[in-house]
C-alpha cells in the first residue's frame, strides 16, 4: 500500500477537462491530412442474400470520386479473429472484412468508395449498381435453432457455441427440494451507443512501408497485431494511434471490418483515407448486445435458502462471432448465480446465429441479463414463500467467511477459466444500502395506490468481476525538468484515465500532480499493451504505474547516492528532491534527470479477477393509465476495495445506472421478419435524456481492498449497471402485484407496463 496520499482518494478535478470544455479535444473526426480522401461504405440493404453483381462504373464516373474497392480489389479476404475465447469451432463463423458473395446482415460492408469529400463518397455509394439475390433470413434464435436455413452451409449448424456452468448436483437438489419454480425471461437487443461515432484515418508511407492508423481505441495493441497480419506487415511497421475517444462501453475499439478496409484503401491509393461513421450506419455496423432469453428454475428450502439453479439460456448472436462475441454467452452461464450462495448450479447457454448485426460486449456483458433473470426468480420465490425481498437476499448472500468463493465450473474452458469471488462482506453492503434507502420505513408502500399511482420497491445484489488479465505495461521516464512522463498500455475511452494514472504516479513519487504527464493507448509508446476492457485500467494499468514509480524511485535514490556520496539508505526522497540524511545536501529530480532515468515494467495478476460487489434499491410509482414508471428513488452501494478518485468513480456509478435504466425501459433494436432494423435512428432508438431519471444516488465503500494488487483497487466501471434490469422489473411487479403483473421481459415500455396494469383491471 502507498504511504503518501495527497491525491489517491481525493476528488481531484480531471486534467482532461480543460481541452474538452474549450472545444480543443482531438477526436478522430477532427483530424485531417494533406491529400486525404474520404471513404463511405456501401452496406448490404438485405439481411441475407447472394451478391450477383456489383457495378461501380456510375460511381467512378462522378467527378471527385476516386475509386471503388470491393472484395475483388482486396483479393484474399481476411476474416476477423477472436480476441477473447477463441475456442475451437468458432473459426467457422468469423466475419470476413468485406462481403465477397454472401451477405448475412443489413449493414454488412460490400464496397468502399473513396472521394474528395465525404458527401461525394456518399454520392458514389448511392450510384453503385448492386444486384443481390435475396435469401430467406433467419429472423430470430428460434428459427436459428431449427437449422432449416443455415448462415454457413459448410458448418451444418447455426449454433456457434454452447457453454455449461456446473457446480454440485442440481438434479438431485431439485428432486429433493421443498420448493421449486420455473420461469421464462427475456432481454431485448440493445447497444452501447457511444456518442462519438467510430472513425478511422489511415496513412500509408509508401517509402518506408509503414502504416499509421488514427482513431484506435480500447485495445490498440491487439488490433495492431491483427491489422499487421492482415496486411502482411511487420508489427513494427504498423502504428495504431489513440486520440480522444468519445465513449466506449465495451463496443467501441474492437476490430471491425472498417479497421481493415480503411488502411487497405490508404495503401491501395497511396493517400491518407478517412472514414467517419454516421449514426445510421453505426446502428447496424457496431456491435449489438444483450439479446437473450431463458427458461430457468430455482429450488429452495421453505425458509428461502436457495438450493439450486438450473436451466437453459439462448443468445441471439447475430450473423457472425465477432472478437468478443462469446463473452456474453460465457458470462450468462458462469455468473448466473451472481453474489448468492448456490450449491447446485446447472446452466446451459447457447449462442445462435441469426441474420442480424453481430453482437459483442456492452458494459457488464451477460451480467446485466443474468442479474435480471436471477433476481426475478429469487423475487418470485420470496413472494411464494412469504419472505421479505431484503430478507430473502440476506439469507442467501455469500458470507464473508466463505471467501474466496468459487463460481461454477465452465465448459468449454475448464479449470483454466475458473474464477472465485475474492473478498468482501456482501451482507455489509446490503445492510448499508437498506439503511440508507430506508427500506424498513418504505416497504409499507409496496403495492399501495397513492394519488392514482401504484408504488413498488425492490432490492437486488450484484458482483462485478473486473480487472481481467493477463497484465498491463507501463514506462516512467524522468524528464529534464524533473517532471515524469508516464506511458501506460491502458487505453482511454472517456473514463478519466489520465487523471487517475496521474494521481497514482504523483502520490507514489511524492511529486505534484502537474509534474506528471500521462500518455496512453498508442502503440509507439510501448512494446506491448492490453487496453481498456473488463474494468481493468485502474486495477492493472494503475498497478503497473505504481510498480514502475516505485522502481523509478529506487533509480533516483541510487543516482543520488552516487552524486551525493554514501549509500542509498542515506538518501531520502521528499517532494521532488533527493536528500542526504547524513549531511543534508540535496538534488532536485531535475538535477538528476541527466542520468536518463527510465523504468519499464509490467504488472500481471495471474488472471485473478477483482470482485466489486454491492446492493441497490429502488422505489417506483406506476401510472396504470399510461404505463409510465417514475423512478422516485434509486440507491446503489458498492464496495470497490479502494477509491482512487471519488469524483470519477461516482460518475461511473451514476452513468452506468442510467444506461441500465435505458435498457430496462426504452432501448430496443427492433427487427422485422425480413431482418430489417426498424430502429435505425436516434429518433427511433431511444436512450435516457435529462428529464427521465433525475433521482439516483450512489455510495462507494472501500472496506475490503482487493488482495490481488498492490493498490487494493477493484474494477468499478460496470457494477452499478448490473442489477438495474432486475430491480426495475421487481419494483414494477411489486407495484402491480394486485394485478398479478409478471414483468418477465425487458424493456418495460409504457405499452408493456400499461398492459400489465390494465388487462387484469378490466377483468375485475
Amino acid at each position: 500500500m502507498i504511504g503518501i496520499n495527497r491525491y489517491i482518494g481525493s476528488p481531484v478535478e480531471r486534467v482532461e477537462d480543460f481541452r474538452f470544455l474549450r472545444g480543443r479535444g482531438e477526436f478522430v473526426g477532427d483530424l485531417r491530412r494533406e491529400g486525404m480522401l474520404h471513404a463511405a461504405i456501401l452496406r448490404s440493404p438485405v439481411a441475407h442474400g447472394r451478391i450477383r453483381n456489383l457495378d461501380g462504373t456510375a460511381a467512378r464516373a462522378i467527378p471527385g470520386v476516386r475509386t471503388v474497392i470491393a472484395a475483388a480489389e482486396i483479393g484474399a479476404v481476411p476474416r476477423i479473429p477472436l480476441r477473447l475465447l477463441p475456442l475451437p469451432g468458432t473459426e467457422r463463423f468469423l466475419q470476413p472484412v468485406i462481403a465477397a458473395d454472401r451477405v448475412r446482415y443489413v449493414g454488412e460492408p460490400i464496397a468502399v468508395v473513396l472521394a474528395d469529400s465525404a458527401a461525394l463518397a456518399e454520392d458514389g455509394v448511392g450510384s453503385i449498381a448492386l444486384d443481390i439475390e435475396e435469401l430467406a433470413p433467419v429472423a430470430d434464435r428460434r428459427a436459428s435453432g431449427k437449422n432449416e436455413i443455415l448462415l454457413f452451409e459448410e458448418a451444418g449448424t447455426n449454433r456457434a457455441m454452447t457453454f455449461t456452468a456446473v457446480s454440485g448436483d442440481a438434479d438431485t437438489a431439485f428432486r429433493e427440494a421443498e420448493y421449486a419454480r420455473r420461469e421464462r425471461f427475456s432481454v431485448q437487443r440493445h447497444t452501447a451507443l457511444p456518442m462519438e461515432p467510430r472513425g478511422v484515418l489511415a496513412e500509408w508511407d509508401a517509402v518506408q512501408g509503414r502504416m499509421t492508423v488514427l482513431g484506435a481505441a480500447k485495445v490498440p495493441f491487439f488490433n495492431r497485431d491483427t491489422l499487421a497480419a492482415m496486411l502482411g506487415l511487420a508489427l513494427t511497421d504498423v502504428d495504431l494511434i489513440e486520440n480522444d475517444v468519445g465513449g466506449g462501453f465495451g463496443a467501441r475499439g474492437e476490430f471491425y471490418p472498417e479497421d481493415f478496409l480503411i488502411p487497405f484503401a490508404a495503401r491501395h491509393v497511396r493517400r491518407p483515407v478517412r472514414w467517419i461513421e454516421d449514426r445510421r450506419e453505426h446502428l447496424t455496423a457496431m456491435n449489438h448486445a444483450r439479446e437473450a432469453d431463458c427458461e430457468v428454475e430455482i429450488a429452495c428450502r421453505r425458509d428461502g435458502t436457495i438450493l439450486g439453479l438450473r436451466g437453459e439460456i439462448f443468445i441471439d448472436l447475430g450473423a457472425y462471432v465477432r472478437t468478443n462475441g462469446l463473452i456474453q454467452p460465457r458470462t450468462l452461464a458462469q455468473f448466473f448465480s451472481g453474489p448468492y450462495r448456490v450449491p447446485n448450479v446447472d446452466i446451459t447457454s447457447t449462442a445462435l446465429l441469426t441474420n442480424k448485426t453481430p453482437s459483442g460486449t456492452y458494459r457488464a456483458p451477460g451480467r446485466y441479463e443474468a442479474s435480471f433473470f436471477c433476481e426475478r426468480l429469487i423475487e418470485l420465490a420470496a413472494r411464494d414463500l412469504g419472505i421479505d425481498s431484503a430478507e430473502m437476499r440476506r439469507r442467501n448472500l455469500i458470507g464473508a467467511a466463505e471467501m474466496p468463493y468459487k463460481l461454477p465450473r465452465l465448459e468449454p474452458g475448464g479449470p483454466a477459466v475458473d474464477t472465485e469471488c475474492d473478498s468482501g462482506d456482501y451482507g455489509e453492503a446490503l445492510e448499508r444500502c437498506l439503511a440508507e434507502f430506508g427500506w424498513e420505513e418504505k416497504r409499507a408502500l409496496q403495492g399501495r395506490l397513492i394519488e392514482g399511482r401504484y408504488h413498488g420497491l425492490a432490492v437486488a445484489c450484484f458482483i462485478e468481476g473486473g480487472g481481467a488479465g493477463p497484465k498491463e505495461t507501463a514506462r516512467l521516464e524522468l524528464e529534464a525538468d524533473g517532471s515524469v512522463t508516464v506511458y501506460v498500455g491502458s487505453a482511454a475511452v472517456g473514463q478519466g484515465l489520465e487523471t487517475v494514472m496521474s494521481q497514482i504516479a504523483a502520490d507514489t513519487l511524492d511529486i505534484q500532480l502537474d509534474q506528471v504527464r500521462v500518455l496512453h493507448g498508442s502503440t509507439p509508446y510501448l512494446n506491448e499493451g492490453y487496453g481498456a476492457f473488463a474494468s481493468r485500467s485502474t486495477v492493472l494499468g494503475g498497478s503497473a504505474v505504481f510498480e514502475a514509480a516505485k522502481l523509478l524511485l529506487e533509480q533516483i535514490r541510487a543516482a543520488a547516492a552516487v552524486r551525493l556520496g554514501g549509500s542509498t539508505e542515506e538518501i531520502e526522497l521528499v517532494d521532488g528532491r533527493a536528500r542526504s540524511i547524513s549531511d543534508g545536501r540535496s538534488l532536485s529530480f531535475a538535477e538528476l534527470a541527466s542520468e536518463r532515468l527510465s523504468v519499464d515494467t509490467a504488472f500481471a495478476n495471474n488472471n485473478k479477477l477483482t470482485y466489486t460487489y454491492g446492493s441497490a434499491a429502488a422505489h417506483v410509482a406506476v401510472d396504470p393509465g399510461t404505463g409510465h414508471v417514475e423512478l422516485l428513488d434509486f440507491l446503489v452501494v458498492e464496495d470497490v476495495g479502494r477509491i482512487v478518485n471519488p469524483l470519477t468513480l461516482h460518475g461511473q456509478a451514476i452513468g452506468g445506472v442510467v444506461q441500465g435504466l435505458g435498457g430496462a425501459f426504452m432501448e430496443n433494436l427492433v427487427y422485422d421478419a425480413e431482418g430489417q432494423l426498424l430502429t435505425g435512428t436516434l429518433a427511433d432508438y431511444l436512450i435516457p435524456t435529462a428529464t427521465d431519471f433525475p433521482t439516483i444516488r450512489a455510495i462507494a465503500l472501500e472496506n475490503h481492498p482487493s488482495p490481488s494488487n498492490p493498490l487494493g483497487v477493484k474494477g468499478a466501471g460496470e457494477g452499478p449497471i448490473i442489477p438495474v434490469g432486475g430491480l426495475m422489473a421487481n419494483a414494477v411487479a411489486s407495484a402491480l402485484a394486485s394485478f398479478g403483473a409478471m414483468p418477465n421481459r425487458l424493456p418495460l415500455s409504457p405499452a408493456c407496463v400499461w398492459l400489465m396494469g390494465s388487462v387484469n383491471e378490466s377483468s375485475d
Partner: protein
C-alpha cells in the same frame, strides 16, 4: 455559394456547396472542430451552436442560411485561457466524461442561462433533454448548470 457571417466575433467568408450544413462548414471549412456531430439529424444536440443568441442544431441548417448571422461555437464561449463559470462548474461537478457531447451541452446551457439566469431545475432539465449524453447520466450536468446561474445573474456576459 458564398456564405458570410460572424464566427465567434470575427467576420468569415467561405465558399460552400449549397448542400453543406453549417456543422460541416464550421468543422471542415473553418477548422472549428469543437462542434461535434453525433447524429446529423437533429436529435443528439452535440452540434448545437448559438446563432443570433439562439441555440441551433448546426446539422439542421445549411451553411448558407447563416448568411449575415452571428454564430458562436464552444470555442467562442471564452476569450482567454481561463474557463468560464459555466465551464468551471462542469469541471467541478464532473459533468463530462468522454467530452463528446460537452460542446453542445455548454452552448445549450449558455444560451439558456443568458436568456433565463433564474431557470429552475425543471426548466434546466427540460432544455437539456434535447441533448444526449451517454456517460454521465445527466445529474452532474444539471448540477453544474444550476450552479453556474449565479454568474449569469451578475453580469450579462460571463
Amino acid at each position: 455559394m458564398r456564405a458570410r457571417f460572424q464566427l465567434n466575433g470575427q467576420p468569415v467568408a467561405v465558399d460552400v456547396e449549397p448542400r453543406m450544413h453549417l456543422a460541416d462548414c464550421l468543422r471542415d471549412e473553418l477548422g472549428q472542430t469543437g462542434t461535434h456531430l453525433g447524429c446529423e439529424h437533429g436529435v443528439c444536440g452535440a452540434c448545437t451552436v448559438i446563432v443570433d443568441g439562439a441555440a441551433v442544431r448546426s446539422c439542421l441548417i445549411l451553411a448558407v442560411q447563416a448568411e449575415g448571422s452571428s454564430v458562436v461555437t464552444v470555442e467562442g464561449l471564452s476569450t482567454d485561457d481561463a474557463l468560464t463559470p459555466l465551464q468551471t462548474a462542469f469541471r467541478k461537478h464532473h459533468a463530462l466524461q468522454c467530452g463528446f457531447c460537452t460542446p453542445g451541452m455548454l452552448t445549450t446551457a449558455h444560451a439558456l442561462l443568458t436568456e433565463e439566469p433564474d431557470a429552475d431545475t425543471a426548466r434546466v432539465r427540460s432544455v437539456l433533454s434535447g441533448n444526449l449524453c451517454r456517460c454521465t447520466g445527466y445529474i452532474p450536468i444539471v448540477e453544474a448548470v444550476l450552479e453556474a446561474r449565479a454568474a449569469y445573474r451578475k453580469t450579462d456576459k460571463p
